[in-house]
């Protein structure tokens, strides 16, 4: 017993150090696990509040660019709207039952208040939370393309796992031929992501557009991602293709959070098939 007390007496600082070190290690590992909820994240009231204040000031500096991009998006949506009207007249003979509940996605506008893109595991913070109906695993997009998936939700702020995170994997396809693969990031260049496991017979040209595949319950179908800049022409095992993002991930501000209203229905069906 005396030996034990002597041991603790002698190594008390080292033991204290080890204890804190294990806590830090635990938090680090926990942070990389998408399924678990995290204690240390920037979406809490204190850090989120500070980021929000800082972002309120710094957002004035790129007001001009943000305005231009929003105007561009409006133009695009207006064009699509008129196309839609014209189509409706053309297919007048089919009856559209307006009482049927057809909406599949709802969009919430948000602002990025903290942006990281230089690490291997990047996260963003947005100024929307549970109060605004945000939940875990919702898609975050903007007019130019995809940004990430919501990860940790607090009352007012949400942490988003960026596509520039080595743990992010999502379904993507070629726009013209509809062959699909998995989109991930190798942690090197923040403008380039990799599309892997695309079938070898798929015809791929440099400059082809990549979009979301719609084979997940998170992202809507056909959201733009980027264009092919490098094809390895079947030289590697996973047939990786370099894709340059349409988004400049270092300069983001207004975003939309997409909620899939059919998510629970889709997941319940998928789970039955698994068993």
């Amino acid at each position: 017993m005396q030996q034990l007390i002597y041991f603790f007496q002698k190594f008390k600082y080292f033991l204290f150090f080890l204890m804190l070190q294990f806590i830090a290690l635990g938090l680090s590992f926990n942070n990389l696990n998408f399924q678990k909820s995290k204690f240390v994240n920037s979406a809490n009231a204190v850090t989120g509040g500070f980021y929000n204040k800082a972002s309120n000031i710094s957002s004035y500096f790129n007001l001009k660019e943000v305005n231009t991009s929003l105007l561009e998006e409006n133009r695009l949506l207006r064009t699509q709207l008129h196309q839609n009207k014209y189509n409706n007249i053309a297919i007048d003979s089919t009856i559209i039952d307006t009482l049927k509940y057809l909406q599949k996605f709802t969009y919430t506008s948000a602002k990025i208040i903290n942006n990281n893109y230089t690490n291997a595991f990047n996260f963003l913070t947005i100024n929307r939370g549970e109060k605004h109906g945000i939940e875990k695993e919702m898609a975050v997009i903007n007019s130019k393309g995809i940004i990430g998936v919501t990860d940790n939700v607090n009352a007012n702020y949400t942490r988003v796992q960026s596509i520039l995170n080595e743990n992010s994997k999502l379904n993507a396809r070629l726009k013209n031929s509809r062959y699909f693969g998995t989109l991930q990031w190798n942690g090197k260049d923040y403008n380039t992501v990799q599309l892997i496991d695309i079938p070898r017979q798929a015809p791929i040209e440099i400059g082809d557009t990549i979009e979301t595949g719609g084979k997940s319950a998170i992202f809507p179908e056909g959201i733009l991602i980027g264009k092919v800049i490098n094809v390895n022409s079947n030289k590697t095992v996973n047939n990786a293709i370099d894709v340059q993002l349409f988004n400049d991930m270092s300069n983001l501000e207004p975003v939309y959070v997409v909620k899939n209203l059919h998510k629970i229905a889709i997941q319940s069906i998928e789970n039955i098939q698994d068993e």
Binding site: Y13, F17, I23, A24, L32, N116
Partner: protein, 167 residues
């Protein structure tokens, strides 16, 4: 009492300057200084180390909270917080009797330089290896460690030069 308030203010100022200023510098696209570890160098030596170890853990953790990095800053900062006394013994030849009268920047510059450089390199190496979390981009880790260390050290000695009073 006066000293406690001084270090409390230093703690807060270092965390906020790290999060809102130094983390947005991104020199050459990815090099940032991590100046918050100046707290580890400047905090007075004490025989009882519990408070200091806890403070260095807390310092790292507060940076982690802002940067969404889990616990890697806490891990790296705590490590150099623990190793500090060992390097004081090695480079500056100070023992427990000298602690109450010890002032880092009253020592010879060469010794202080060695001490600060060693701790900074250890901290940055641990930080970037954990941030990378694989052996794939090891050259990137080493390059980042080197460049960021140079940046941190430059800023640290510049700040010390500006803020210390001339006798």
């Amino acid at each position: 009492m006066n000293k406690k308030i001084y270090f409390l203010i230093l703690f807060v100022v270092l965390v906020f300057s790290q999060v809102f200023v130094f983390n947005n510098i991104l020199f050459l696209g990815y090099v940032n200084p991590y100046l918050y570890i100046a707290f580890i160098f400047l905090y007075p030596l004490n025989k009882n180390r519990f408070l200091f170890l806890f403070l260095s853990f807390l310092l790292g953790l507060s940076v982690d909270f802002f940067l969404d990095s889990g616990g890697i800053h806490a891990f790296a900062t705590l490590t150099i917080g623990y190793l500090r006394l060992f390097f004081i013994k090695v480079y500056l030849k100070k023992y427990e009797i000298d602690y109450p009268f010890f002032k880092l920047h009253a020592e010879a510059f060469g010794k202080v330089f060695n001490y600060v450089v060693t701790l900074t390199l250890i901290h940055h190496f641990i930080l970037f290896s954990f941030a990378n979390f694989s052996f794939q981009n090891i050259t990137h880790v080493l390059l980042n460690t080197l460049l960021s260390s140079v940046f941190t050290l430059l800023l640290y000695f510049l700040a010390i030069f500006i803020f210390t009073k001339k006798q």
